[in-house]
Symmetry: D2
Subunit: 257 residues, 4 copies
């Protein structure tokens, strides 16, 4: 059993500080780095990559719609071509930052609205996968299990990593319960930790209706945007390790531990 | 005798169309592509690289200050670190666009205020050279002969290409006459063509005071932003060819013709 | 019979020039001025207001989503609150520019995706109307006849002006035929002119299925973004005048001619 | 003796939270509200104006260069015309937000690099003053005592308010000691409080060389960007009140207390 722990990082922008990257980096194995469209600026990107490097965390791209004021959380009706182009651009920007620190990128995980739309929008998902494969076919595409994004990644010949959320409720069909539903976000740290272990060890999680559903994941997302978030991430990691799960970057070779 | 012909291209942005790229590309050998900070967007970048590729034109980065409304022409008192970071970012963005079309970048030519400040500001010039070398030491750095930028490029171990302007007047010390001076911009096409030939063949040009000054260049800049500009560029190219100058991208191997 | 002729103007941005404002201004009676979110910058706004003033054209706000690269044509899933706030902001910015030239604003006409979404989205339409009324209840709200925007304007106590498009096909229900339909955009200048006269004089227009439908409008939109557009606008104006229609700004008092 | 207490507020942007506005507003009498160019967005502006209104704090504009990533702290070599236009635009945007809450603006205080450049650059200072007077001649212009900005405001017929900084060292000529000098920023809360009282009561302050210099001010700036800043601001206010200074907005009529 092995699992990757990923987190969204590098979401400061100029004088605006966001997140707890310094606390998260020692815990996670994959860093999703903002690339200037929803957050992040060239200097923040450099600092974030350096921090990831220092902790041996694999670096990935967190591409987003161009919407700084909306933090990339708002759906924009862009064309497939526009989405493909903006993903290429953001991968490249981060790849260069990584290159200056002798690092290669590991993965691409779309941010916010782009991620959510790619669950069901096959054309958008294909655009993201196409962009990723065109820049570097060795990149791993992160997405929800069963999403159009994972399917598009596979069609494009990319490795994929299916992502679980220990602090979010699932519907019986395996999709995330929308945030506006009561119970959609799980606040109890003990429950979050237990769900992470269940996902990793049992390949299953209890859905919002109480049924147990299968959930195959290669990476689990931890958050750093609330007080205590890094501490919770640390507890998740420790519980996984105690359960016999090896915590490794998604792209680490099979034999490594 | 060989010379590179470069032009600033890809300076449209979304619905805003600028320049005459389709007319210039058949004439030039190196394209300086805007990267979204002063002009250009991810889609324009893709189209511009495709057009360059179609015409066998070498692709380079045209990094600028983040100043869309000012078209990158206004000096911004950024730190060295900020300049280094924004050059890395822009090189990367274009490199990815080029990679999706199986192209590698040839060069970096700073745009507007960044270019002009790098003539005399050694720290800024070093930041640009450092960024370029850190992303890809094979990139060629374009700059004014005698500028701090060329010196910084050489210190950073980069190949450099010194650039001449056939339509700009020179001061006796080899620097460009400021635009506000009478006669700083040369409008007469015959004079422009003759000066280009003089630069290439005689390695000299007549300065604004009438004296003949030495000018060593490897590339010459042609413009596309005025009516008739592409036609003038074509005349320059033809005159150079007639004078026995081989027109080749700055990065073409020595033996090629 | 009286009618207002409006056009979108001030859509240049920095070095990027767009439109034919100087040709349109002598023809139109209401100018929809871009306010920096999809086009326009503070300097372009000043110049555009000055040009409108010089020609006695009434000045209005053309608020848009914050999407320069998409020219405000892409739907953004913003909240009602966000839409209300961005409309207030853009009205204010233009109002100040107008104040420096001793002008008051006449109207608000949403741009692009904001305009189109406000046809059917009642909540969005209400947000626009609320913003407009909150800043200045004397402003006139422009929108499609039968749209939620016009309804929201009336509920908010605003004067409204229903807008017709002489170069667009209508569906039998009075809505515009989507652009992707064959025949949705009418290219024949003679037909465009005839339809403008029909709208003004007969309060009716032939729909895309050949049926004659009623269409009550107070303003008609002319375009300036294609070659010959200003000439066509001029022909429309002349034909309307010949048909006995008085061309006046939407906000001109009833007795004026 | 009366004095205004001003602070920079509304400097959050979208998801990026900055400052301690809720703690500062009960203390200050004038709020300098960011207008979207260096910080602030239309929603943040609305919330900030509402908070000011709730606490009876006078609302002013804090216009800046368009430089979100640089937080408006970097000098940009804009033309006078560009500066005038961007100040007009930002005043208007905030005026509309204020109008929706039945408030009028009290003042204009340039932000960051714009403020600092206006100390010595007479042309830039005139552009700011011209913009302010053109939009609303009742606005009060805030600036450093002896600055070109105050002089330009007076020439433009504006009321002005000279501003003191209790936590900054002064040079013998009455200008602020540059931040890079040792001792330029005063950290000791007791010293800060004492200097505020000295400025208000004695119209004098001890300069960095130990000499006592005259300093005439109508407003004093307190900060909210460091931990403990609001508490310090509160102490400054209390000490001023204890010293018999009446704390009133700069624009409050003379007879009010």
């Amino acid at each position: 059993m092995r699992l990757d722990l990923n987190a969204d990082v590098g979401e400061s922008f100029g004088a605006f500080k966001l997140g707890q990257d310094a606390l998260l980096m020692p815990i996670i194995t994959s860093a999703n780095v903002a690339c200037g469209f929803h957050a992040g600026d060239p200097g923040v990107m450099r600092e974030t990559v350096a921090l990831a490097r220092q902790h041996g965390v694999a670096v990935g791209v967190h591409p987003a719609f161009p919407d700084l004021v909306g933090f990339g959380r708002r759906e924009i009706r862009a064309t497939e071509r526009e989405v493909e182009d903006l993903v290429v651009y953001q991968i490249g920007a981060l790849a260069a930052v990584a290159a200056t620190q002798s690092l290669r990128l590991q993965h691409v995980k779309p941010h916010g609205a782009l991620y959510n739309m790619a669950v069901r929008d096959a054309a958008l998902a294909s655009a993201i996968a196409r962009a990723t494969a065109a820049v570097d076919p060795a990149l791993i595409l992160f997405g929800l299990p069963g999403s159009e994004l994972i399917a598009a990644g596979q069609r494009a010949g990319l490795r994929t990593a299916r992502e679980g959320f220990a602090d979010r409720a699932y519907q019986p069909d395996g999709t995330l319960a929308p945030r506006h539903l009561a119970g959609a976000v799980i606040d109890d740290p003990d429950v979050v930790v237990a769900r992470a272990v269940s996902m990793a060890r049992d390949r299953a999680v209890t859905a919002i209706d109480g049924s147990l559903i299968a959930l195959e994941i290669e990476t689990i997302c931890v958050h750093g945007d609330t007080p205590g978030a890094a501490q919770l991430a640390s507890r998740v990691r420790d519980a996984l390790t105690d359960a016999g799960v090896t915590i490794l970057p998604a792209g680490a070779p099979a034999g490594i531990s």
